[in-house]
């Protein structure tokens, strides 16, 4: 098989062999429904509940605080919409605070709620993508019911100060939801230490299967069930349990968390080396994001004068998989709302590529990627009208200076 370098681990990760091994019995001899009372059911139930323990252990909570969902998007919808339906009829607490750089599953859902008459504050970010805690604090009003902030941004890798936000939220008596999809396995995620009320995860970002997610709900807190019907998940999420997805999620989170410290360090070295070379060897490039507060596996770099998709396709042809902006909005042609919120100028906003490293990534991969990038960027700039204009102007100016 053709050699491929997969640098799109923020979009999704392949299933790791240990996870396949864990789920394999449930794709073959064990086909039962965890809700069934017979042996087939009990085997499924036991494995399913074991996964719940693995998750609880991984994020430091109780098993009864875990609800399994089909993905983080569903979990995020559940919190935002379920939180609100808990308020039905009450006028108070109809204000949500979130940020301008959330994943669409929060961002678009909050926008939709806004249209429905709820009040939403989207905290702005600076050019590095950082939010202002003082502004967050002062945005909290009498009717604020929920703060929803992601832990790690999926486009820039920026880490948000959730612990500080947790403190503010609990002081003010406001519920706090964290989208920790890009954080788990990359930085420590401890719900007790953070002090949040809701937290969401999705298995396919840490080498589990697509189609399984987690909603942590602090014991005593409540959201209205989002999907209603059967009694599954203690009536909090109806529908036959996704045994394979959840068993895989359990195994995957156990491994991700136990390997987190070491793997983060390994990737940091590779990422930093890669960025150093790119910034030094390819002109007119820069890091998009917060240089001082990023996870170690994401590198978002803008290559001025060229449009990102062209770079993506050329890299793909060379065997390297990357993404432009958010993979989730890649059906879209607009620059992402994240980049827009960072007030990056329009031309540059189309020029950024996200390299996201993962378990398979080696130093050779990164060296190879730099080499290929150098050629590709040079070639694409060679017929970029924007580059031409820039160079011509620079030339004129330096000519003027020389005269």
């Amino acid at each position: 098989m053709e050699k491929r370098i997969y640098l799109d681990n923020s979009a999704t990760t392949p299933v790791r062999p240990e996870v396949l091994e864990a789920v394999y019995p449930f794709l073959t001899e064990h086909g039962g429904n965890p809700s069934s009372r017979h042996k087939e059911g009990r085997i499924a139930k036991t494995a399913f509940e074991n996964a719940r323990e693995q998750v609880a252990h991984a994020i430091n909570c109780q098993t009864k605080e875990i609800i399994f969902t089909s993905c983080a998007t569903e979990a995020n919808n559940s919190v935002l919409k379920g939180y609100l339906s808990g308020l039905r009829g009450k006028v108070v607490k109809n204000h949500i605070i979130t940020t301008a750089v959330e994943h669409p599953s929060v961002f678009a859902t909050a926008k939709a709620l806004e249209k429905d008459g709820y009040e939403v504050t989207f905290l702005p970010v600076d050019k590095f993508g950082r939010i202002d805690l003082e502004l967050l604090k002062s945005s909290i009003k009498e009717n604020t019911g929920l703060i929803s902030v992601m832990m790690v941004n999926n486009e820039t890798g920026n880490i948000y100060p959730v612990k500080e936000i947790g403190k503010i939220a609990s002081e003010k008596g406001v519920l706090f939801h964290i989208d920790a999809v890009q954080a788990i396995g990359k930085v420590p995620v401890d719900v007790k230490e953070i002090g949040c009320d809701f937290l969401t995860l999705t298995a396919h970002k840490f080498y589990g299967l697509k189609g399984a997610g987690v909603l942590f709900v602090k014991w005593g807190k409540w959201t209205a069930p989002f999907i209603t019907g059967g009694h599954q998940e203690k009536n909090r999420r109806a529908g036959t349990e996704n045994v394979v997805g959840v068993v895989g999620l359990g195994k995957a989170i156990e491994l991700a968390v136990s390997e987190q410290a070491e793997e983060s360090e390994r990737l940091r070295k590779l990422r930093d080396h890669f960025e150093k070379r790119v910034l030094e060897e390819i002109p007119y490039t820069r890091i998009v994001g917060d240089p001082d507060g990023r996870v170690s596996f994401i590198s978002n770099i803008s290559f001025r004068f060229i449009e990102g998709e062209a770079i993506l396709l050329k890299l793909d042809y060379e065997g390297i998989a990357v993404s432009t902006g958010s993979a989730c909005s890649s059906g879209n042609l607009e620059p992402s709302h994240v980049v827009t919120a960072m007030k990056i100028d329009p031309e540059e906003s189309h020029s950024s590529i996200r390299f996201s490293l993962g378990r398979s990534t080696t130093l050779e991969d990164m060296e190879y990627t730099v080499e290929k990038l150098k050629n590709i960027i040079q070639q694409l700039r060679s017929f970029s009208p924007v580059y031409d204009k820039f160079i011509t102007q620079n030339q004129k100016e330096s000519d003027r200076r020389v005269q």
Partner: protein, 126 residues
């Protein structure tokens, strides 16, 4: 959703790239904020034939491929014939484009029409 083989061919090995040494018509469309800028350099001879043409494009794969395709389609053609070429024809010649690319990234024909119309105006051709 995916690009056809022909699109990929024109994207990977674009024809007529860069800036002609001599040209007597230019057409530019698009802007950076929408993510696509296409600039065509055209050399029109005394018989109003497109003797040579080249492009510079800032844009996605489709923008580059349609630019390349357009230059191929019109090189050697009379400008009045070239004016008849539509964006849909360019897309068709490439074996189709993804729906979301039809509108925004398929601008080369517009740039060409602009170049020719300017040339005609400047040279008093009707």
């Amino acid at each position: 959703m995916n690009y056809t083989e022909k699109v990929m061919d024109h994207f990977m090995s674009p024809r007529n790239v860069g800036k002609l040494d001599t040209y007597n018509a230019i057409g530019e469309v698009g802007n950076a904020s929408c993510g696509d800028i296409i600039k065509l350099y055209v050399q029109i001879d005394e018989n109003n034939i497109i003797a040579d043409i080249s492009f510079q494009t800032f844009g996605c794969g489709a923008a580059i491929a349609t630019s390349s395709m357009t230059t191929e389609m019109v090189k050697g053609k009379h400008i009045d014939e070239a004016l008849k070429i539509t964006k849909d024809q360019v897309a068709e010649e490439l074996g189709g484009l993804p729906a979301n690319k039809m509108h925004c990234s398929n601008l080369a024909a517009d740039a060409l029409h602009k170049a020719i119309k300017d040339y005609k105006a400047k040279n008093g051709i009707v």
